[in-house]
């Protein structure tokens, strides 16, 4: 990163820290959504961007994280910070299972993507019928109206959730950066670029891919825990929906697959645009279902046609934030 890039990054973080002091509830809630997508997009990026594994079923890990932590809280009174570990463990187990089946049996590319969709769909239908977590009727975390901010149980004001989301996003960014510059990170990139050549220089393909799925699943599950305690309601139809998986991957694609800042930038572009569009539609007074998604679809097509590497590499080169196009950090 150039000095200019570093300076801008510090300013950016400072501005995000200050937001709740100056902005109203609405802005804080929109930015919480932005940060959540940035976080989950980063988690997805570990699989697709770093390791070249296309997952179109990441709603599975969000949903497992959400349901596991919510169930532990509701049924046993176990708080989210403890439930988090169980949530991660379950998501990692699911990811490892899918990965094991896929990689052992040589399921690749489109087939692998389909396997991920299939498992998310299976989970959706299964949770629809799982009475322990409310089935298709939904699962609810009780809201304590009287209570103040309680970080320990993740109960409280939008500002509390905003800062937690900010912490998650920055934490994921830092973790992704560390991973990318580790031995494992180099191996992931090698596998993404050319699996056969990677194997020839000593990379255990199976292990590298399994690590990618498991790390990604664990991180994504944490996003699910946040979602459960932020919204307090879970419906399998929404949580595990294929549309949800698509929403998760959009920020990283728009921002730039495989880049560290891509998912963050993508989330900052897409969510506010969607919000603005919702308002614009509301102002005109006509209720047109689908217009917002029509816009998302168009944005997606325009991006892949004109900026196939995403907005971040293009922007970074324009503003001279990094030393060469597409590069996040030439250490």
């Amino acid at each position: 990163m150039t000095r200019r890039g570093a300076l801008l990054f510090v300013l950016f973080v400072a501005a995000l820290l200050a937001v709740p002091l100056v902005a109203d509830r609405y802005v804080v809630s929109v930015l919480t959504t932005v940060l959540w997508f940035a976080y989950v997009g980063q988690a997805w990026n570990v699989m697709m961007g770093f390791s070249g594994l296309l997952s179109l079923g990441h709603a599975l890990y969000v949903g497992l994280g959400a349901y596991v932590s919510a169930a532990l809280f509701v049924h046993f009174g176990i708080g989210p910070w403890l439930g988090l570990w169980a949530a991660m463990a379950v998501a990692v187990a699911a990811g490892a299972f899918i990965g094991f089946l896929g990689f052992r049996f040589g399921v690749r590319g489109v087939h692998f993507a389909l396997l991920t969709i299939a498992f998310a769909e299976v989970a959706r239908i299964a949770f629809d019928h799982l009475a322990w977590t409310g089935g298709s009727g939904g699962f609810f975390i009780p809201v304590d109206a009287a209570g103040g901010d309680d970080l320990l149980n993740l109960r409280g004001s939008p500002t509390l959730f905003y800062y937690v989301a900010l912490g998650l996003t920055l934490g994921a960014l830092a973790l992704a950066r560390v991973l990318l510059h580790s031995r494992l990170g180099y191996r992931w990139l090698a596998v993404r670029e050319d699996a056969e050549a990677a194997e020839a220089v000593g990379v255990n393909l199976f292990a590298a891919r399994m690590w990618a799925v498991m790390v990604s699943a664990a991180l994504t599950a944490v996003g699910g825990v946040f979602q459960a305690f932020y919204f307090n309601t879970l419906f399998p139809e929404q949580v595990f929906a294929m549309g949800r998986s698509i929403e998760i991957i959009l920020p990283a694609i728009v921002g730039g697959i495989g880049t560290l800042f891509g998912p963050i930038l993508g989330a900052f572009i897409l969510t506010p645009l969607g919000e603005g569009l919702t308002h614009a539609i509301a102002l005109t007074g006509v209720d047109v279902p689908g217009l917002k998604l029509l816009f998302y679809g168009t944005a997606l097509v325009v991006i892949v046609v004109f900026l196939p590497d995403g907005v971040w590499p293009w922007l970074a080169a324009r503003l001279r934030l990094t030393r060469r196009p597409g590069e996040d950090d030439p250490s």
Binding site: L114, F119, V122, I125, H129, V288, G290, L293, V304
Partner: protein, 289 residues
């Protein structure tokens, strides 16, 4: 007589499965030649369904008769889509093609939603409640019409690829794109033609489908996934495999809907898919690469 009951369920699942198979055939044709997975397949199918619904509402046209009209429109759409957009992605990485067509699917789905609204619509032909009796079987007349229509179109498609000049040229492209270019075939044109054929076929499957079920835009992604499952179960790139996969999934769904809770029936298709991916990743009739 439980055996009769099962026979009837299997037979009606088979007829529905033939229509599923026809839809999957369209996907298989596109993938087999252009090497692009059409993520907007279900949306094209639903567009075909709305074509049939509109033609029925306006002129009382039977879906079987509106099929050629719908096919022509979807052919033009598929041709233009390949020419204008997909063609420049043919050499790009798989995930980029996926994302492009995901965008196209989202646009189509929501355009349909804006035009037709979220409510179900149907075609109510006058033989809707008739039954056809064959031995112990009592089959819905609409299902029989749809099944026969699917078989006829599939047969026409096989004949086209086997005997016509264009069909042979397309097969040459699928086998060896470079070689096809070397002998002077116009690859871009043939790709667009193929995408058009695939779209037309799934459009016809859509019109036939309106005989069996009502249509709503939100069902489109399910049809996309269903077509994927069928193609992979039958074997990517194998045309007979797509039909066989369709029948298998149709029958499995029908049995599952009868034996389990109806809402669980898709679970069974996914179970079949996962089993196939694990035990025979090349599909029932696919060749191992």
């Amino acid at each position: 007589m439980p055996l009769d009951v099962y026979l009837n369920i299997v037979a009606s699942g088979l007829l529905t499965g033939l229509v599923y198979g026809l839809a999957a055939l369209g996907l298989s044709v596109i993938f087999g030649v252009v090497r692009v997975v059409n993520f907007a397949h279900g949306e094209m199918m639903v567009a075909g369904m709305y074509g049939a619904v509109l033609l029925f509402a306006a002129f009382g046209l039977d879906p079987v008769l509106s099929a050629p009209l719908v096919a022509a429109v979807l052919f033009a759409f598929g041709y233009a889509l390949q020419r204008g957009l997909v063609n420049r992605f043919v050499e790009r990485p798989e995930h980029m093609q996926f994302i492009l067509l995901l965008g196209v699917a989202t646009i189509l789905l929501n355009a349909l939603l804006m035009i037709f609204g979220p409510d179900s619509r149907g075609v109510h032909v006058d033989y809707a409640f008739d039954a056809v009796e064959i031995g112990p079987l009592m089959l819905d007349a609409v299902r029989v019409h749809a099944g026969i229509g699917a078989v006829v179109v599939a047969a026409a498609l096989f004949a086209f690829f086997r005997y016509s000049r264009t069909g042979k040229a397309i097969r040459a492209c699928a086998d060896n794109p470079l070689g096809a270019r070397v002998v002077g075939l116009n690859l871009d044109g043939l790709y667009a033609f193929t995408f058009g054929i695939g779209a037309a076929v799934v459009g016809i499957a859509g019109t036939l489908m309106t005989l069996i079920v009502e249509v709503r835009p939100q069902a489109a992604p399910e049809y996309t996934l269903l077509s994927f499952i069928i193609v992979i179960v039958g074997g990517l790139g194998s045309l007979p495999g797509a039909l066989l996969g369709g029948v298998l999934i149709g029958v499995t769904e029908a049995l599952a809907g009868f034996l389990l809770v109806p809402s669980m029936k898709t679970l069974v298709s996914y179970a079949v898919l996962i089993l196939i991916l694990l035990l025979r990743p090349q599909g029932l009739l696919g060749r191992r690469s």
